[in-house]
């Protein structure tokens, strides 16, 4: 295992990290697309992609090539600047989100004691991107999708933050490395045992925050055709798509670190445990998508404001009291 902490120069380290992350995001994006389609297929009792490569493993590569090769079309009357800024703005902050995540012992991009805050702050960029995409494409469906995306993302950031705060109260730090360090290898030593409600709320909000079914109202296919990315073609759509999957990886990684002990695991701790836990969470997210109908837009907000925020607040209060008492 290469010790990343041993590389002295911060600039070099950052460049290396970003290259490594680009590869990581790209590969994981391809893998997740394949996984999603296979899971969808098997749940629906069909094989899923099967034609390109053995059992269709190369299908995502073919898809990516197709997306890259497609003509980029901007609709007439669209605000070209905003229209093309949006997908880039949606994708670029993803790199920052990955930097503080500790994938393994000393395997992280930037060591910062405010890692959690960095992730939460930069995750907010996505809202802006969706908003610009919907507004810039001069499409009514896009506009409705953007309006939905903004109100949903803004609403769900609150309970997300509150649950994260509960964990931070317990551990007394916002450094992801330290949070991992404070948890043990075995499941009963993880934060999920002490904070089960926070975990459930965090995970549900994460599903909503990444616009995944059953909370995929900004792109609700049967209502808004495709929502904010209705007008995007080729890699414009591809970047949104990749950003969605990358964000899924981020939220699942954060959930893994906060609640499931990060890279620590029984027997031999290491990055593999991190990947196993992260992919388990991703699988559950996909499982949700292929099982449930879509929640109506106002219900999505109601769930957040009337259930998650009060529950998260109560949980936070309880945590604070217990931390103070013990």
């Amino acid at each position: 295992m290469m010790n990343f902490a041993a590389i002295p120069e911060p600039a070099l380290r950052l460049v290396l990290c970003i290259v490594a992350l680009a590869v990581f995001i790209g590969l994981n994006g391809l893998l997740l697309v394949y996984m999603e389609r296979k899971i969808a297929g098997h749940i629906q009792r069909r094989p899923g992609p099967f034609e390109v490569g053995p059992h269709g493993v190369l299908t995502p590569v073919a898809d990516a090539l197709k997306l890259v090769g497609k003509q980029l079309v901007a609709p007439e009357g669209a605000d070209k600047w905003l229209f093309w800024t949006a997908p880039i703005l949606s994708f670029m902050p993803i790199f920052v989100l990955f930097l503080p995540i500790e994938f393994g012992p000393n395997l992280f991009g930037v060591e910062t004691n405010l890692g959690l805050l960095l992730i939460l702050a930069f995750a907010g960029f996505n809202v802006l991107a969706l908003c610009l995409a919907g507004w810039g494409s001069n499409n009514k469906w896009g506009l409705l999708g953007a309006a939905r995306a903004v109100s949903q993302s803004v609403a769900y950031e609150i309970p997300l933050l509150l649950t994260v705060l509960a964990v931070a109260f317990m551990t007394g730090t916002l450094d992801l490395g330290e949070i991992t360090a404070m948890q043990g290898a075995w499941p009963w030593q993880w934060n999920v045992v002490t904070q089960p409600l926070a975990f459930v709320i965090f995970f549900t909000c994460a599903v909503a925050e990444t616009n995944r079914a059953p909370f995929d109202v900004p792109e609700a296919e049967s209502e808004l055709t495709a929502g904010f990315h209705t007008e995007y073609s080729g890699m414009g759509f591809g970047l949104f798509f990749l950003a969605e999957y990358a964000e899924m990886i981020v939220v699942c990684s954060v959930a893994t670190i906060l609640f499931l002990g990060g890279w620590k695991g029984p027997f031999i701790s290491g990055p593999w445990w991190f990947l196993v836990k992260m992919y388990a969470l991703l699988t559950i997210m996909m499982w949700f998508r292929w099982t449930y109908p879509r929640v109506r837009f106002d219900q999505v907000l109601n769930i957040c404001w009337k259930w998650f925020i009060p529950l998260a607040l109560a949980n936070l209060l309880l945590t604070a009291v217990l931390v103070k008492v013990f």
Partner: protein, 582 residues
């Protein structure tokens, strides 16, 4: 003079009962000036409007307004005639809002006008065809009304029928109060209409004609369709939104209009059969059945019992496949992707089964006049039993996966409230009506075929909402399975394998007359009216599509709902656009 005869009928408000002859129940002839009052009376008496048919005969254009009562086994047809040079009827859209679309459709097809029609724009035909009327007959092709309906076939009744007596009272009391304001020269132009109305608009589409007048800055006008994932085909709904709330919703039809009714007039009786598989491709056999029943009634053809049983079995299998597809597609509208695949698994088995006997998988053309085209194979009963058993075993899975799902329940409970009064005014039938708590099913109220020998229930739910309509369809699947099993039991010994007694040959000409047959399709009451002048081809074919009436209430039902709910309501109506556009 025969030509005077029909007007004398009208003057006397004569009522004729001919249920057995043409299946239209009681026909009341009345003067067109009193139509609106008669309609108001019918609504008060609890009648629902089925359809408005026009018949172009040499005396003029006859309007036939068919009404049904849900509790009484009673059908009433109001007949009124307008001379060709003054083809104008009063509109009854003010009383029965469902008549709006029927009248607009008639204005497309015939050179008639409806006075005081709220919105006289083309419905099914494109705007630039407003001067052409496909169903208008040429002078030499017209026959007298009495060539179609020979007078002696009628059993005339006294005027003690409710409507007849009402009409008589009206006649004596208000004779001069309702002069028809129609001026012959202005046949194609409504005098009081604003400038953006029919024929005066040179350019502009539906939006500019309807929505500009009410447009304001805080409204968003949105075209849902003709290509939209949840309009199930090429339906276009123009929505006026305030935020996500629907202020107005106006369906725009005609994108897949194929003029099936005209095709009926240019093809022979036999040649029209394959068309029936293509009107409603999801429950094609019900249309097969309705048309065959109408022609059999017209020509007095007897159907062997075995054929009747086969018809019932295949029809119910087809209803199952239709409901299964609806179930999947509705869930797709609500955002669940997986159920449609599970529904297709069962649907596939049913289609395999239907393919064995009908030869096709979707657009069936299986029934012929007097029976069915081929008998069922030996192992059919066994296979069918095993397939419906499998389906019955899977129904609880449907319930567990979907019906009881919290998210789904929140999407359908108390959404799209359609009450019985609304159904009556718009003429809604089928699961939409039964979901409104009204026990009306053609199979129960006017049984046809061998349905009255079978023991089954008509599921009715009293909730008026999308959930009720959902539950009705789910229960109907279980009932269809019951029907199929009983009919299979009866099939064994029936008629020694005779599936057709005397097949009409290719040049078959039924006697002149008219016939109306209604069957219960998966979407509601399917009605076929056939008029024959004794020639090789039908003189007039009218198709009453249930989806047409069911969709017409969408505008009222969707008002004030959220966009997502409008999608949910649209799905709960179970639309098949080719059937609506015909």
């Amino acid at each position: 003079m025969r030509e005077d005869l029909i007007f004398s009928y009208e003057r006397e408000n004569r009522a004729v009962v001919d249920d057995h002859v043409s299946g239209q129940g009681c026909s009341v002839y009345m003067d067109r000036t009193r139509l609106a009052d008669a309609a108001a009376m019918m609504l008060e008496a609890g009648y629902a409007l089925d359809d408005i048919t026009l018949l172009d005969v040499s005396e003029g254009i006859q309007g036939q307004y068919r009404f049904t009562h849900w509790d009484k086994q009673d059908r009433v047809t109001i007949r009124t005639i307008a001379p060709h040079d003054e083809a104008c009827f009063p509109s009854i859209a003010g009383v029965y809002p469902g008549a709006d679309w029927h009248e607009r459709e008639n204005m497309d097809f015939y050179p008639v006008n409806y006075e005081d029609h709220p919105n006289p724009t083309p419905l099914l035909l494109p705007d630039d065809m407003a001067e052409e009327h496909p169903l208008e007959k040429r002078e030499k092709d017209r026959v007298s009304y009495f060539d179609i309906v020979p007078g002696q076939k009628f059993i005339e009744c006294d005027s003690d029928h409710m409507l007849c007596s009402c009409a008589l009272n009206l006649h004596s009391a208000k004779k001069d109060e309702f002069p028809l304001r129609c001026i012959p020269e202005l046949r194609f132009k409504q005098p009081d209409m604003p400038a953006n109305m029919r024929l005066e608009v040179e350019d502009g589409d539906f939006y500019s004609k309807h929505f500009e007048t009410t447009y304001s800055d805080d409204r968003l006008v949105l075209n849902m369709g003709p290509q939209h994932p949840s309009t199930h085909g090429v339906l276009r709904v123009v929505l006026e939104l305030d935020g996500e709330y629907v202020i107005r919703a106006e369906p725009v039809l005609g994108y897949i209009h194929r003029m099936h009714e005209k095709m009926g007039e240019v093809k022979t009786f036999h040649q029209y059969l394959p068309n029936m598989g293509r009107v409603d491709y999801l429950h094609a056999l019900a249309w097969n059945h309705a048309y065959c029943l109408a022609v059999e009634k017209l020509a007095d053809i007897e159907v062997p019992r075995r054929a009747e049983l086969i018809r019932v079995i295949t029809n119910e299998l087809n209803r199952l496949s239709s409901h299964l597809l609806w179930w999947g597609a509705y869930l797709l509208d609500l955002g669940a992707f997986t159920p449609i695949m599970y529904a297709f698994e069962d649907r596939e088995r049913i289609m395999d089964l239907l393919q064995v006997i009908t030869g096709s998988r979707l657009t069936y053309c299986y029934f012929v006049f007097g029976g069915v085209t081929c008998d069922v194979p030996g192992d059919f009963a066994e296979r069918t039993r095993s397939i419906v058993h499998t389906l019955r075993d899977r129904l609880p899975m449907f319930t567990a996966l979907v019906t009881e799902n919290l998210i789904l329940r929140k999407r359908v409970e108390d959404i799209g409230v359609i009450d019985p009064s609304m159904c009556r005014r718009y003429g809604a039938t089928g699961p939409v009506l039964r979901g409104a708590g009204v026990a009306y099913d053609v199979r129960m109220n006017s049984p046809y075929s061998v349905y009255d020998e079978l023991d089954f229930e008509i599921p009715v739910y009293d909730g008026h909402d999308a959930m009720s309509r959902y539950m009705v369809r789910m229960d109907e699947m279980a009932e269809s399975i019951k029907i199929i099993e009983q009919a299979l039991d009866l099939l064994d010994g029936a008629d020694d394998g005779h599936i057709i007694k005397k097949a009409p040959n290719a040049g078959f000409t039924p006697p002149s007359g008219e016939a109306y047959a209604a069957v219960e399709g998966a979407r509601g009451k399917i009605g076929v009216y056939v008029a024959s002048d004794g020639g090789k081809k039908p003189y007039r074919v009218k198709l009453r599509a249930p989806g047409f009436s069911n969709l017409s209430l969408f505008a009222e039902c969707a008002q004030g709902t959220l966009l997502a709910d409008a999608v949910s309501i649209l799905g709960s109506l179970d639309l098949v656009i080719p059937e609506i556009d015909r």
